[in-house]
Subunit: 441 residues, 2 copies
Amino acid sequence: MSSHLVFKNCSSQFRAAVSSRGRAQVWQQAIFLSRGAGYTSARQFASPSVKVNSQRLWDSIHHTAQWGDSHDGGVKRLTLTDDDQKVRSWFAETLTAVGCKVKVDQVGNMFAVRPGANMALPPIAMGSHLDTQPAGGRFDGILGVLGGIEVMKVLHENDVVTQAPIAVVNWTNEEGARFNSGMLGSSVWGGMIDMDEAYSIQDVEGTTFQAALKRIGYLGNEGASYKTNPLAAHFELHIEQGPVLEDKNKTLGVVNGVQAMGWTYITVHGHSQHCGTTPMDRRNDALLAATRMIPQINAMAREVQGMSTVGVFKSEPSSPGTVPGKVRFSVDLEHIDNDTRDLMVKRTKEICAEFAEQEGCQATFEDTWASRGVRFNPLCIETVTEVAEELVGKDGYETLPAGAGHDSVNTSHHCPTSMIFIPSKGGVSHHPSEWSTQEHW
Amino acid sequence: MSSHLVFKNCSSQFRAAVSSRGRAQVWQQAIFLSRGAGYTSARQFASPSVKVNSQRLWDSIHHTAQWGDSHDGGVKRLTLTDDDQKVRSWFAETLTAVGCKVKVDQVGNMFAVRPGANMALPPIAMGSHLDTQPAGGRFDGILGVLGGIEVMKVLHENDVVTQAPIAVVNWTNEEGARFNSGMLGSSVWGGMIDMDEAYSIQDVEGTTFQAALKRIGYLGNEGASYKTNPLAAHFELHIEQGPVLEDKNKTLGVVNGVQAMGWTYITVHGHSQHCGTTPMDRRNDALLAATRMIPQINAMAREVQGMSTVGVFKSEPSSPGTVPGKVRFSVDLEHIDNDTRDLMVKRTKEICAEFAEQEGCQATFEDTWASRGVRFNPLCIETVTEVAEELVGKDGYETLPAGAGHDSVNTSHHCPTSMIFIPSKGGVSHHPSEWSTQEHW
């Protein structure tokens, strides 16, 4: 491991857990200190004799898909529903059976902790979520939790004792599909959202988040905060939800961060005019102005290796014989670098103002949502990279940023974090056809 | 009048009415043959001593606006409603009082005929419509009918006897706002739509056109056909509904035809993709493809002095975080020349296919509606031009095509037709703020 890696973003607990020498192998030794089998490095730990049981993991995915089975290959398991309650019970029972102690915090986050040699250290966590989108698949989120459970089973079977405790975490309401605030459980834990604010969020039927937690018996006692319930590190295994790995024929993705992303809505104000009687040079055509802006925004985003998407586009009065007087559209802008994304937002507004003026219109702007980008912890990335190289070789993995929000974004502010991706068939997610192969698992 | 004018589109009746010599002055003499005042040409007839009463016309506009008054300056008088019945009664009474005989045909078209010296000739008509859009103004259509009534009053007061009979026509359901088929009454009269088909058209409440005619007592006995109830000519005074005359500071528009127009719907088929995880070069972005097409279609239309308008634009799934998988939009294409419009439709489809391919999408097309362009009768245009020049001088009028459909399009296939425009304030129509000045009247 190169010596330029710095620990300045690491919590003191993690620094202790990974040793004061700051070298990956030492850290891996510390974590995977084995009494039963004598493994002294991650490299050895990843050797053929101790590895996850692919078939068992595959079976457990399909076993748990019964709770919320949408009978089209997918899963509909909205957070804190009866189906979520059932998979949560299974989670607790399964991990208790392999020597874990399960804690539930005040927002339903579940921490299944396997003791380590040094119980003064906070646990090193493998976390993700068991809730899904309304028409979701059986992999998004679930893979990260069930992958963690499989690791626990292997540790248990091989009588491995780690230096720090190890935990599997099931974060509540990552999808934000029932309570419309994504990554809600990890956001409260990370201090991004106040607990009372989270409690008051209602689903479409008016049930509050707090009432829903209480109803299924998951309003826990553990403080929902990184301060009172810290983690030494957080690793998240997840499907890519994009086509890059599949396209490049890679088996693993080493995730180096999450892109900065956000939405700007642009309203173009023109005049509704009769299309047959208003000459072309006498128009204030809001739609024409908008359609001139959008390809330019796209080109600008490509220039800086960023991403732009116009997903919503509404036109008024929406009559085939009338020049549209008003158009409103969304622009999603993403970049791995926060400053570059800020610049993209600025350029987008300049482009819109320019074309609006050319077409005799005005453009107004609303920045409705933004999520700052995150660079994951260099030491965690390096560790994942080393193991990936061992498992699939130098050409078998790709280092890439995540393009979607994950609980790891929230943990990354409070403990060293990184993620691991496996390929998504056709890049599809949030859909019953979402799929990943057993081999990649 | 130049000798190249031909009569091949004129009915035999009109040829008789305008004399066999085919010169405008002679025709005007024929029409306006005056017994009481001795006028021998339209030029003389337009002299200061016999002219319309501007104030009376102005007053009658505001008087009739009581039937459907929308209390915001506009009129809501959908066809065959109680308000329409009231204005129709007023029309019949007013014209009967000045010596006309009122006929109602099988689709409610009203023909108020003032006898001429030669009753073997079909009447020369001034026609338009008394129905309005749901949020319409007090000028569109109404001006043409009330202008005709004012002419009848002047002829009556001055005891003028014309060679051919003169008629004022109120065409039924021009707007197509209640029964969704515009210019319906004149279309049945012109043989463009079968009467039974017209009768079966329903409004949103399921009332048929036939039942609505019967309810207000306007299912007449006169055959609704140019064959049994012919006109020798049709002139229509109308507001411009556009800004050209106002912009150029003209008082009158001599309308030389109606543009060819029609709608093509384009559907762009791409793939819905997660915007954060799908790289820019891996997308099949239907919306980006569409927004690249639209400015190109616009440029192409301008190149050939035509018009293009995208009025409807729908995108799916319409989520700010999802690359749109499907976009459907309308393109209205207009040109004074039918062949050039056909070419515009062809080029539009080529442009769309090209950009769809570039963005990894497919484009499909539906031509949902088209109306062939019409060149009005040269003799009628010439007559209107001569009178316009007399009234407002060489710089006071502009010759231009109409950009919207009118009953005159239908009459033009069966009798010599032309239209006269007056300026619309701000080019606005189909809106309560629609306005034209008393001076222009």
